[in-house]
């Protein structure tokens, strides 16, 4: 029980740290494309680490399966979202034709 709690704490601190570093990067980076670099680690590393910490804390069962599912959905959705925002920014700055294929 203690080992599991320590593992959950380590994962929680790591995930929260990644999320905070991403938030700081969102403020510190000046250009829109650089801000996309701050966006992706939060959704692919930070939030799944927090969800994994909660799954480790709750132990095996349906709750852990649900949390791992949330982690996978957030990771994939964050990657797709970052690509879509980058594409919209490129179209907005006329680097890409508006009717270019997806």
């Amino acid at each position: 029980m203690a080992v599991r709690h320590v593992c959950a704490l380590v994962l929680l601190v790591a995930g929260t740290g990644v999320l905070l570093v991403s938030a700081a990067g969102l403020v510190a980076l000046p250009r829109p494309y650089q801000r996309l670099h701050a966006l992706t680690p939060a959704s692919t590393v930070g939030a799944p680490l927090v969800a994994l910490a909660l799954a480790v804390e709750s132990g095996p069962g349906r709750a852990a399966v649900k949390l791992v599912l949330v982690a996978v959905i957030v990771a994939f959705g964050g990657a797709v979202t970052a690509m879509a925002i980058g594409r919209a920014t490129a179209q907005h700055e006329h680097l890409l034709r508006r009717d270019s294929p997806q």
């Binding site: 999320l19 905070l20 979202t81």
Partner: protein, 96 residues
């Protein structure tokens, strides 16, 4: 006061204000970065709330947001990128 509530407090006080600030600055496309990061942070906060308050049913909110958040951001990216519905700044300031 357990460690999960401390994590929620840290995420809300240090993680969300940069998102709100980034979502309130620049053109409409540049604000999408703040919205996306806010969605990720709020998903983590909702999952932590389920554990911190001992209500396992709150985890469903995190699941719903994990599905709906990227959908909402994709709607924004599709509309803002596919067609220029945002008025250019010169015209927006020039018109009464």
């Amino acid at each position: 006061m357990n460690v999960w509530l401390v994590a929620i407090a840290v995420l809300l006080t240090l993680g969300m204000p940069p998102c709100v600030w980034a979502a309130g600055r620049g053109s409409a496309v540049e604000r999408l970065a703040g919205l996306s990061l806010a969605t990720t942070v709020v998903t983590a906060v909702l999952l932590l709330t389920a554990q911190g308050f001992g209500r396992s049913s709150f985890a469903d909110l995190g699941l719903v947001l994990a599905v709906l958040g990227p959908a909402g951001t994709l709607v924004f990216a599709r509309f803002l990128g596919g067609r220029s519905i945002e008025a250019p700044d010169a015209q927006a300031h020039g018109k009464p």
